[in-house]
Every structure is written in structure tokens, then in C-alpha cells.
Symmetry: C2
Subunit: 345 residues, 2 copies
């Protein structure tokens, strides 16, 4: 039987990126593809339905200077990230055509996954499949682990979340509310502030772009100090938070999106507060906590069914718009989790 | 019976200090004193034998901007710090004349302690009494807690200690060696480096003043990275350490002596390493761990008797030299724990 042929549009990184990424740093190419895995291979061929735009991807666009937990993209090659797809053909005993999966895939319409052990078969299909790029995927587990495992939260504590309407932030805020914390978020526009307060149930929120003095904004929102800071942005916000932490506070360091495009990083000047306030500041990565995924997934599915969690996505349509959607993260253009819809089925 | 009279030399802070403290920021005055506690008072009058020079005291000399765990000194009044002394007279039922005590006292020859509950009666007197300003006092418990409680050390791990020949650093390094760690220290002179290697048993050491590139020095000493950094200095050393930490490393933030005299603090630029390397960075203060003091004291006394710990002090003689000894900390003039001998008995 002759293999069916298809065309495959792919997003290629042109060269390492310095400073803010531009759409032109990536190029869309199209090539033919055989819709079969090569004979004898244990690979899996996946038709991509959704691609996930995540801030950490910026780091992979830079020329590597120090070894990181994840390698850089390779100029001239397709970029990779979290995706959701349907198996078209499989040489691997654990997967068969028709299976829905999520995991690291190419940014392309069809992705040949050479080491499919990293793919996760989708258990619940009565939710939007795009959720597996967010609330039911890496960002969801990141929010869960960062709040429940890293931040040692207690009922009644005060919690501050930056980039609070993003994929991770909106969940952290809701987890904190479910635990009975007082929760304030920062975001980059009044529209996002409204979303935080009206949709996600944050107790208060502010737009950092409209605050000339972050220290004063935090003092206003937290007159008695911050017990937990869930940091997605780093930079000047982190510096202002340090001044406003409560004794024995915790800072979960999840991301530093304000710094990713700077060739000269902002200096943090208030770390002495770590001593005087006995603060624990802890970085973490979701892959270290993958063993918690099954229990996390069951819990979140239940919360979604009970209406205890809400989730907002910003969906760009078509792989032609994927590069633009990705770089939009760094100007805060997205409202909610940024996803690219590549194919509907 | 008429009260005996004495003369009392005291160190007064002239005014709040900006930048590096100078000897002239303090003044020695002498006044008469009645060597009795006032009638009806529950105070204790202590004859000071030793005064402790500690880096944290610099913070108390500054005009306060934010509320700290410990208030500022008051210009025009005697400064206070840890001291060792002998009770001359007591209005408090727990203390009697002749008791040896340590705790917070005035920097003076005779100190009237209004709230003597904070004083600790000295249990072991077969060691130099000056040790209660250091290895058997606040710096000792600081080193013990910061290493054993905050740093989660394991046998075979790599440990870096800055300001390693100081009161706290010399003990941290020895605790780490006793646990079977590989230990490197930094200090400010070749004399101190020799002390670290030959006296305290550090595996390696370097003088930061002779290293044009701290990052390179740390890479040379720790080709596989640092598991535990015991930070006494902050600033550029902390920034270089962040680049050289091992995954899942811990940073115990004990002090930042490089920053105390700067009106504009150095910025720390490499905090993103907290995420990529999943580092826990934790500030702490010894007073939170006072409940551990009795077990700590018995352990250290035993170690001293068995010769498992050594301890180096730099003793200035006479209260006339106290101000100079204190400010010498900030240029690193002291070799080992800086103490002032006020009276021999």
C-alpha cells in the first residue's frame, strides 16, 4: 500500500534571537510529507491540533551561554513546544492511529515524534482539547506545584501573583482562593485587571503599567505584607515585592518574563530583605514534578466539572499565525493562555 | 550601706552613619556610676568582660528607612551588642552577684540590664569566656542553624562559604567538613586563606581580592558546581555563585557584608538561575532558633573538648579600642572573630 502524502507547514527559526523576538525571526515553510512512520521505526506521526505558546520558549531562541535544563532551538530547524494532536500512524506499541496525545512536538502540521515515550495519552476528552496546552498540561501542573508544593500556603494568608491573567497566573490565583487566601494579581492592562477580579475571583488587581510606583501599589494592596509571592515576571516587580513581604514569607520563582528579552538584565537590589524577613525564595520546574500529574489531572477535571475553576484562552487560528502569537506573549498582547489552533480534527 | 561608686566608660553613637562607618562616628565618654541596681528595680548590673563586634551592628547605625527585625541605635546614647559579663548586683530573682552571663548589653564597662530575662547564665566556664561572643554565642548558633537547619546538607556535597574566616564562616566550614562535605572558602587576604586551609581544614580557599574574575575562580574550585552556598557577603560574589550552583542547590543567606556600607546596593543579575537550577535561597535569623541553643551548646562544648572544632579570635584590648575594632570588620582587618576585652575579671 502506497503511503498517503500530505503537505506540512512548519515554523523554522531563522537564527538565534537577541532582544525582543520579531515575527521575522521565524519563517513558515511548506514541504511534502509521507503520512506514515518509516518502516521499522518506533516513532509516532502526530497530526497537530493545537500548539502552546509559552514564555520559556524565548530562552530556547537565544544563543546558549550556559547549559540550561533545556537546550536551545537549532537555527534552520523546526521549533518545538507543547502540542496536542491525533496519532496518524504509529510504530510504537503504546500508541495507535486515532489516539489523542499531548507533549513536546514540532511546530508543524504533522510531527514525527522519534521518542514517543514523552507523549501522554489524553484521558479525558469531554473538555476542549486545547486545555492540554494549559490548565490540563504543563502550565496547569506548574501552577499546582508552584503553589501547593513550593509556596507552603495556609488558609488566610495573603498571596500576590504577577502576570496573573496568563496561563499559570490565573490558575495560581484560583488555587489560592480555593484555599481561603487573600489574592491580588498584577497584569498589563485594565481589561486583564477586570478579568482577574470579575472572572477569576481575585480579591484585588492592578495594572503595573498604570502604577508609577510599584512599591506604593503593593503597600496599598497589602498593608500588612505579602505571605506568598508567585513570581512570573522578575525584575522591578520582584524588587518591589521584596520590600513588601511579610516575615517568613515564601517566593515561588516560576518565571521572569520581564527579563527574557533584555540583553542586560535588571539588577535586584533588595535581597537583604531575605534575611531581615526570613524569606524562602525557591525556583522550580514542572518536569521535576511529573509524578504528580495523574492526581493533579483528576483533581482539576473534577474542579472544572464542579465549576470551581474557570479558564480563559486566547486562540490564534492557523499555523500561519503561530509565530505572531508566540511573540505576542512578550508584549502581553494575549488575554489568557495563548494557544494556536492548527487543525480542528 | 552606701553604694560603691565606679567610673563607667561608654561608647556613644554620635549620629546616624551613611556609607563606611569611621571611628569618629562613635565617641568614648566616662561618667560615674553607682554599682548597685536602683532600689525596687528588677534590673541586673553587669560588669562587662568582653564585647562582640558583629557585622549586623552596621545596620543599626543607619537612619531607619524600613522597619527591621531589630531597631536602630539612638544617636547620643550608648550602643548595644552581645557581651559577656559578671553580675555585680541584681534585683532579679534569677540572678545574683558573681553570676557569669552573656546577652545583649551596652557597650560600656558596667551595664544596667533593665530586662534581664534575655541574659543567659553561662553553664560551662572551663572555656575562654570570650567564646560566648562567638562559637558558644550568637555567631555559633547562627552557623549551626544556617548549615544544619537551613542548608539541608548531605555527606559528599560541595559547600562554598564566603567571609569564611569570620566568626560564622570558620564554624560553617568545620561543620561541613565534620559532615563529610567538600568545602571551599573565600576570604580577603592570603593570611586568611592560609588559616582556612591549615587551621580550619577547608579543602580549598581563595582570596577574592586577588581574583579578577569571581566566576572563573568558582569554576576552578567547583568544576561540577556548588551544592550549598553559605552567603555572608552578598553582592558580586552572590551573583557569581548563582552561575556556579548545582541543580537543586541551596543558598543560606546569612549576611551581606559587602553591601552594608553602600548607599546604592549592587544589583544581582543572575537570579534566573534560581529557576533553571531549582535553587532554594533562604534567609534566616538566629533569634528564631533560640530553642536549639541548649542542645547546640552541649554539642559544641563536646566538640571543643574532643578537638573536633578549632576557633580563632582577634581580641582588641580595652574599651578605648572598641570603636576601632568594630569598624575594622568592614575593611576585613580582623583575622577570626573580632572581640573586645573590656576587663579580665
Amino acid at each position: 500500500m502506497a503511503a498517503e502524502k500530505g503537505s506540512n507547514k512548519r515554523i523554522i527559526l531563522k537564527d538565534y534571537v537577541t532582544g525582543y523576538p520579531r515575527e521575522g525571526d521565524m519563517v513558515l515553510i511548506s514541504s511534502d510529507i509521507e503520512l506514515k512512520v518509516p518502516p521499522g521505526s518506533a516513532a509516532v506521526l502526530v497530526k497537530i491540533l493545537y500548539l502552546s505558546c509559552d514564555p520559556y520558549m524565548r530562552g530556547r531562541m537565544s544563543k546558549p551561554v550556559v547549559k540550561s535544563y533545556i537546550g536551545p532551538f537549532t537555527p534552520g530547524y523546526v521549533i518545538t513546544g507543547y502540542g496536542v494532536g491525533r496519532v496518524v500512524d504509529s510504530g510504537h506499541p503504546n500508541f495507535k492511529a486515532g489516539d489523542l496525545v499531548w507533549g513536546i512536538t514540532g511546530w508543524e502540521e504533522y510531527s514525527l515524534i522519534e521518542a514517543p515515550d514523552s507523549l501522554i495519552k489524553i484521558k479525558y476528552t469531554d473538555v476542549p482539547l486545547s486545555y492540554y496546552t494549559g490548565i490540563l498540561g504543563m502550565p496547569g501542573l506548574t501552577a499546582y506545584v508552584g503553589f501547593h508544593e513550593i509556596s507552603s500556603p495556609k488558609k488566610g494568608e495573603t498571596v500576590f501573583v504577577s502576570a496573573a491573567s496568563g496561563a499559570v497566573g490565573q490558575l495560581v490565583g484560583q488555587f489560592a482562593k480555593l484555599m481561603g487566601c487573600y489574592v491580588v494579581g498584577s497584569a498589563g492592562s485594565q481589561e486583564k485587571v477586570d478579568l482577574l477580579k470579575k472572572k477569576f475571583g481575585f480579591d484585588d488587581a492592578f495594572s503595573y503599567k498604570e502604577e508609577p510606583d510599584l512599591n506604593a501599589a503593593l503597600k496599598r494592596c497589602f498593608p500588612d505584607g505579602i505571605d506568598i509571592y508567585f513570581d512570573n515576571v522578575g525584575g522591578p516587580m520582584l524588587d518591589a515585592v521584596l520590600l513588601n513581604m511579610q516575615n517568613h514569607g515564601r517566593i515561588a520563582v516560576c518565571g521572569m518574563i520581564s527579563q527574557y528579552n533584555l540583553t542586560e538584565k535588571d539588577g535586584i537590589h533588595n535581597l537583604f530583605c531575605l534575611i531581615t524577613k526570613r524569606i524562602r525564595m525557591q525556583g522550580f520546574l514542572e518536569p521535576d514534578h511529573k509524578h504528580l500529574y495523574p492526581q493533579f489531572l483528576d483533581l482539576i477535571i473534577q474542579y472544572l466539572k464542579e465549576g470551581k475553576l474557570v479558564y480563559v484562552e486566547d486562540i490564534a487560528e492557523g499555523i500561519e499565525n503561530a509565530a505572531s502569537a508566540l511573540i505576542g506573549l512578550f508584549s502581553g498582547r494575549n488575554v489568557g493562555k495563548q494557544v494556536v489552533l492548527v487543525a480542528r480534527e
